[in-house]
């Protein structure tokens, strides 16, 4: 039986802590975001907030809606009302194209946030997830400044840095993330780059996949399929 199935069995039995032995060195996690599949329903944002107790007004993940008019690619109109949690207002029927772009921590291999943390409270795990030790974080916000993607914030009550953990408490038990699990169209997929059987390998070979802001050279592991050039 595959590890995920064994884990799921343990979860169903109400004993997720007894999930099969998880080897850090066997995994290298990332996320595939299939832009054309996203319908902007906000399920992922709501699921993330419920799963991770995200404070109001802050976001571990959010969805943006781009409206790009012809010949005006560099000046798109972007909205993300309340992080897209409750969906989006009806689009106007005019020129140009509309599309949704889910955003989250890119779990960068060479993450600038990790580089600048003065005490090493934020770190990259051996299985490729950027995490924060909140019992160690000073709350200086240098990492918030260093993140090119705006994924971090200072938790208003805990007074420490906070962000997407890629649902580390779930993926180490063989489950997928809350956002992936609740996406109705499969626009978000948790991927394990060290697993040779993961379909991501075939997907990366056959699709025009990009990362956000490649010029930042952060080694981002949120892979976007069908990403429009206007997306920032």
């Amino acid at each position: 039986m595959p590890a995920a199935a064994v884990a799921w069995k343990a979860v169903l039995a109400g004993t997720p802590e007894q999930a099969p032995n998880y080897k850090l060195s066997d995994h290298w996690w990332g996320m595939l975001i299939d832009v054309p599949k996203c319908i902007g329903c906000g399920n992922c944002v709501r699921a993330c907030q419920a799963e991770n107790d995200v404070p109001d007004g802050y976001f571990r993940t959010w969805v943006e809606r781009y409206h790009v008019e012809d010949e005006n690619m560099t000046n798109p109109e972007v909205i993300s009302p309340d992080g897209g949690k409750e969906g989006f207002p009806v689009a106007k029927e005019d020129a140009g194209k509309y599309f949704f772009v889910p955003k989250m921590c890119n779990h960068c291999t060479d993450s600038p946030c990790t580089q600048v943390c003065p005490v090493g409270a934020t770190f990259v795990t051996p299985d490729g997830v950027v995490l924060i030790d909140q019992k160690y974080c000073l709350g200086c916000a240098y990492c918030v400044q260093a993140c090119p993607y705006g994924c971090r914030y200072i938790h208003p009550e805990k007074k420490v840095a906070d962000k997407c953990t890629l649902c580390y408490h779930r993926i180490t038990k063989g489950l997928t993330t809350a956002c992936c699990e609740n996406c109705p169209t499969g626009a978000r997929q948790l991927v394990d780059l060290k697993n040779p059987k993961d379909p991501i390998h075939e997907f990366l070979k056959t699709h025009p996949v990009q990362v956000l802001k490649p010029q930042m050279a952060t080694g981002a592991k949120a892979y976007y399929n069908g990403l429009d050039g206007s997306v920032r």
Binding site: D82, P118, A141, Y142, Q145, M216
Partner: protein, 407 residues
């Protein structure tokens, strides 16, 4: 319908919250407040004051001698306060010692504690002690009661003030000042590097940032000490040494020119290169940052004092007029350098990293990071300086001599 209404209201709130265009949702509130503006402003004053002191000690510019000790005490007063804004800003200030015990080697900020301690203890306090040792020993002999004990402790048991011993003090002090010059550059260049090394923020990310910070630090420190010297001399009813302030003003003018040239180089480079961030930055400079950047920093805080100082270099004006011009130029220079720190720290957070929108900074009044606390921290070094001047009068040499010889 309800959903649409809620979203409409949500958009209204965003507009009311001072957001224009699109910000990433976590970017709307600023992370670094006016306290982080104060941090480079205060450390700049420290570094600049020390450089002024080194003019006399290392480069033998005798004319500025009346300000030598005052410059050192000013640097110490401001250095004592420098970490306070950072401490107050931290979410968990009680964890800050971790920066000393478990520093993260790749972090620019992690070095703060070491750079600070090095500069405080190995450079500034040591140099002041060496320079004042003779006075401290004499004061420990001429005073009575608890004050005497304070001076006795301050001698650290070293009460030999023979000519040979003082000669050694002089030699060691010279070496410490020599080490102090690159240390002052390190202290403030490092502060500039904290901002300049953030590639995510195009307003900050520039290799020129540490250099600009160093020269602007010298401008603020020299202007600050000049003003403090003039004010203190006036308060003491003494005559201002015009040759001294003339010389300081000359150095201030030349260093100001270098500082302004570097800032203009940075600006021209950005305008000419016009990369993807330029539209955002250009918009900001013409709107939200127009008053603090163009009006206060450049016109009022840089060009006006430069013109005033230029006139004093060009025309031989009466002494009284020169003094007034120096006071005006020095005060405006301080305003300009504060505005520069403001524009870097606050300005760098007003635009979205998506380059598609802008937010607004609202400074609270009585919160932990509010304007009252900031004002308190700005004047606190002056109180410390007052206490230090009482304890270690910069002009003590004559007084001590008089006290000990009974003249």
């Amino acid at each position: 319908m309800m959903c649409d209404l809620a979203m409409f209201l949500g958009e209204q709130v965003k507009v009311m919250n001072g957001v224009e265009g699109f910000m990433y949702p976590n970017e709307i509130g600023l992370q670094w407040s006016v306290l982080i503006v104060l941090y480079p402003f205060i450390t700049g004053l420290v570094a600049g004051a020390f450089i002024l002191a080194s003019l006399e000690r290392v480069f033998r510019v005798e004319a500025v001698k009346p300000t030598y000790r005052l410059a050192l005490l000013t640097a110490l007063s401001f250095l004592i306060v420098a970490p306070l804004p950072l401490q107050l800003h931290l979410g968990h200030p009680e964890r800050s010692p971790e920066m000393y015990f478990t520093p993260h080697s790749t972090s620019a900020m992690a070095m703060f504690g070491y750079v600070y301690l090095w500069y405080l203890m190995a450079v500034l306090v040591f140099e002041i002690w060496l320079d004042y040792r003779r006075d401290i020993v004499l004061l420990s002999q001429s005073t009575k009661g608890p004050v005497q004990w304070i001076y006795k402790v301050m001698t650290l048991g070293s009460d030999n003030i023979s000519p040979r011993s003082l000669h050694i003090d002089e030699k060691v002090g010279w070496i410490v000042t020599l080490i102090g010059i690159p240390s002052a550059f390190l202290l403030h260049g490092y502060v500039g590097f904290i901002f300049g090394s953030i590639k995510a923020n195009p307003w900050w990310s520039s290799p020129l940032m540490p250099v600009v910070f160093i020269f602007s630090a010298m401008v603020s420190g020299i202007a600050g000490v000049m003003l403090i010297y003039m004010a203190m001399t006036k308060l003491r009813g003494q005559k201002i040494d015009i040759r001294c302030v003339d010389t300081i003003a000359m150095y201030l003018f030349y260093i100001f020119i270098i500082d302004f040239s570097l800032e203009m180089l940075d600006l021209i480079h950005r305008i000419y290169e016009a990369d993807e961030s330029f539209r955002s930055l250009n918009f900001m400079v013409h709107t939200k940052l127009y008053v603090p950047h163009i009006v206060i920093q450049i016109l009022l805080g840089t060009l006006t004092p430069l013109i005033l100082l230029f006139i004093t270099q060009l025309v031989k004006l009466p002494e009284q007029v020169r003094k007034r011009m120096y006071v005006t130029a020095g005060s405006l220079a301080l305003v300009g350098i504060f505005a520069m720190r403001w524009n870097v720290v606050i300005g760098g957070q007003l635009f979205s990293k998506s380059f598609l929108g802008y937010t607004t900074y609202k400074m609270a009044l009585v919160t932990k990071e509010g304007s009252l606390v900031a004002a308190g921290l700005t004047v606190l070094p002056l109180f410390i300086l007052w206490a230090l001047v009482k304890l270690l009068p910069p002009w003590t040499a004559e007084h001590v001599r008089q006290a000990t010889t009974g003249d």
